[in-house]
């Protein structure tokens, strides 16, 4: 279920863990108009993303409508080892949310 909302890949490079994630989301700005009806498409975008390593917060992203559709996120952090858990969760402006947990490989 949550799998089709996010893809996470995390691996160790030296003493750092590299994380790459794609969050599947329309990221509508609210400024676009539906070409067929002329109606404005309501804003629908992710506002906050939390990335947790072993339940400890490593990165919080505050996003606005200026982030592209199906947002991509990549970052690095130290203090991790292979097999550790990495949890990413997001909420959007409509109150929808998703959480996916991955393992650092």
């Amino acid at each position: 279920m949550a799998d089709n909302k996010m893809k996470i890949r995390a691996w160790m490079t030296g003493d750092r863990a590299t994380v790459k994630a794609i969050l599947f989301h329309p990221m509508e700005t609210g400024l676009r108009k539906d070409k067929a009806t002329g109606q404005a498409i309501p804003a629908h975008y992710i506002t906050e993303v939390k990335c947790e390593h072993q339940d400890k917060n490593v990165l919080t992203c505050l996003w606005g409508p200026g982030v592209s559709k199906n947002p991509f996120l990549s970052f690095r952090f130290k203090g991790a080892k292979a097999g550790d858990s990495l949890k990413i969760s997001w909420v959007d402006n409509k109150g929808e949310s998703a959480t996916t947990t991955s393992t650092i490989g």
């Binding site: 750092r16 700005t29 400024l31 676009r32 108009k33 539906d34 070409k35 506002t47 906050e48 939390k50 390593h53 400890k56 917060n57 490593v58 990165l59 919080t60 992203c61 505050l62 996003w63 606005g64 409508p65 200026g66 982030v67 592209s68 559709k69 947002p71 991509f72 996120l73 990549s74 970052f75 690095r76 952090f77 130290k78 203090g79 909420v91 109150g95 929808e96 949310s97």
Partner: protein, 156 residues
Amino acid sequence: MNNLRRTFLKAGMTTATVAVAAGAGLLTPGSVLAAWPKSAFETKKMDEAIKILNGSAAATNSKDITVEAPDIAENGAVVSVTVKTNLANVEKITILVPENVSPLAASYELSAQTDGFVTGRIKMRKTSDVIAIVKAGGKLMTAKKPVKVTLGGCGG
């Protein structure tokens, strides 16, 4: 008979789980959204957005920050931006596009164990600088990179 009962129980359980999940989903955003700086994302003034997020808009240029973005972006809807810095104690990285309707694109809050490195994809309405503001050790530093956009990313 027994099989039917199994299926029935299973179906019942699934519904219950979904209901609990939905309940939890509805509860979390309220508490999380409070931290989301709505005014910073809505303002059309770049300095104001920086000030709301960082407490001040006075940032000094820094050579220790690199903004990686394409020179020419063919599609303004997807512009890959990487902000790298060697500065110590990076607390926050903010990405802004002055020419967008709302300049603030994204802000990243880093923990002590996170490197000064983030990559994301942003929308750009037209040719503009991409500005990175890095808060490190309580100081604000900035760097920018001009990106030429051939097809705007915010139009319909």
